[in-house]
Amino acid sequence: MRGSYRLVVGGWLIAVLIVVALGADRLAPYDPGAQALSENLAPPGARHWLGQDALGRDILARVIHGARVSLAVGIITVLVSLAIGTTIGALAGFAGGWIDELAMRAVDVLLAFPGLLLAIALTSVLGPSLRNVVIALSLIGWTGYARLARGEIVRLRERELVEAARALGVPEHRILLRHLVPLLATPLLVQATFGMAAAIVAEASLSFLGLGAQPPTASWGAMLNDGRAFALVAPHLTIFPGLAIMVTVLGLNCLGDGLRDRLDVRAPSGI
């Protein structure tokens, strides 16, 4: 079956991530904020499997709790962007005319910026915090869903099912909501999987630049930023949070690829 292998690998990786994020309190061997200054920068060992950071905090505990931050930011960003994007895109595609024109020009303006740059600019104005990262990423992220939803609706609205529904006297809003929007679910699901990978990388990028999660929150990007000053003496500060990001994004990209092939969607690739 096409895409099966990647679907299984991606699905398992993400399932494990969700379990880790949900059970962080039980799974983490230590409190992610507990400091042990006398043991700062200790390398991986029997008591602290992934070592300790500059404040002596357990890196494994922080990587586990970081999964929660990444997943939460990814899910909330995708849900908000999806809601805004699908609403705007579906309305634009269905209504056509000036509404369509206005919506698509707004998309064009936002796409005139490299996404991450706009996120950097927005978070620098809003102030550094995870909440503002989610706001910035959602304000930028909806464009992809809007384009996809609009394109699909434009394609679908000429179909016979719409004509039949109209002939039966079904009101326009009902045609859109009950008959057309459900048909968007599959391509949007694939897009959302890639979107989540992008959101997680973007959060980590912003936190790495100091514009996202603030201390003492355990975010993978922020941990990488903390590790920069000690790369020479304590490379484990950098290696593990980065591996966590990589495995998560790899999992989501695999899942997205697998879903796209399995569901035979013409959605754009995440890459």
């Binding site: 740059l117 990007g221 990488l224």
Partner: protein, 312 residues
């Protein structure tokens, strides 16, 4: 051809105007007072009023917008609050470093993507194909802010082959260019492979084969040329990611470009500099996309006609 290129560049003007407006509004429409964000809320009222005057924030919004646009037309991006120098000068001084890094990263991406993508497409289903797909998937999943430090740890600290950071010799350029270019290489490899595979299934390739054209000639002269269209489009679109990526790469490697200027300015709350950097990077992206369209038109005159008709 020249007319098409000029026409396409003129079409970037509305996009640039919209981008400039968005950057302007970002400072003015965001909830809260930008002066509070810059100075902190505990500062003296007199200091805040002074900064407000310096930034022109005491004037009506329309006047400020007009002055902002007029400044842009004259190449005036305002003055740095911290250094007092013109933002345009600061950005211009950093531009060559960023251009050097971006071009080098692009070269790394192309040098990896074309041979890998072509080889994968030439032998679909083999280990070579699977290997290049795997590498591409890995490439998009490795964040640059992790790849960079890893390369430093391995090549600079462990083996001492290359300098850790800074700019100067070509050796300084290797790690930042690889860090920045790797992600793009992955995307382009996938795109090249898919695009060439599609072309190999076309009738003209079968005809060429029937006429006895060699395998390599079919690949490079027929399939690659026709496959370049989508690749160039993606190249233009991904150029934005490359430009935004310079912010991170320059931070990792202490590379003195616009990206670092931007992050330093954000940390110092030097708003005019932030605005200038964002505008210049966005302008480069818009122009790169226009160039991609022009190159596409040159590769395939049919899409040129389409590009000339579409706007933006």
């Amino acid at each position: 051809m020249l007319r098409l290129a000029l026409g396409r560049l003129v079409l970037t003007l509305p996009t640039m105007l919209a981008a400039a407006t968005l950057v302007f509004l970002m400072l003015h429409l965001v909830p809260g007072d930008p002066v509070d964000v810059m100075l902190g809320e505990s500062t003296q009222a007199a200091d805040r009023a002074a900064l407000r005057r310096t930034l022109g924030l005491d004037r009506p919004l329309a006047t400020q917008y007009g002055a902002f646009l007029l400044g842009l037309v004259r190449g005036d991006l305002g003055r740095s609050l911290v250094q007092g120098t013109a933002v345009a000068e600061l950005v211009a001084a950093r531009f060559p470093a960023t251009a050097e890094l971006t071009i080098a990263a692009l070269a790394v991406a192309l040098a990896l993507a074309f041979p890998l993508g072509l080889a994968a497409a030439a032998r679909p289903g083999t280990w070579l194909d699977r290997g290049s797909i795997g590498l591409a998937l890995l490439g998009v999943s490795v964040p640059s802010f992790w790849l960079g430090p890893m390369l430093i740890l391995l090549l600079s600290i462990h083996w001492r082959w290359l300098p850790v950071s800074g700019r100067g010799t070509w050796a300084h350029l290797v790690l930042p260019a690889c860090t920045l270019g790797f992600g793009m290489a992955a995307i382009l490899t996938r795109m090249t492979r898919a695009s060439v595979l599609e072309c190999l299934g076309e009738d003209y390739v079968r005809t060429a084969r029937a006429k006895g054209v060699g395998r390599l000639a079919i690949l490079t002269r027929h399939a690659l040329r026709n496959a370049l269209g989508p690749v160039v489009t993606i190249l233009g679109l991904q150029f934005g990611a490359l430009l935004a990526g310079t912010v991170i790469t320059e931070t990792i490697f202490a590379w003195p470009g616009i990206g670092r200027l931007l992050i330093d300015a954000i940390n110092q709350r030097d708003y005019p500099v932030v605005q200038g950097c964002v505008l210049v990077i966005a302008a480069c992206f818009v122009i790169a996309n226009a160039l991609a369209d022009v190159v596409n038109a040159w590769l395939d005159p049919r899409s040129g006609a389409a590009a000339a008709r579409s706007n933006g």
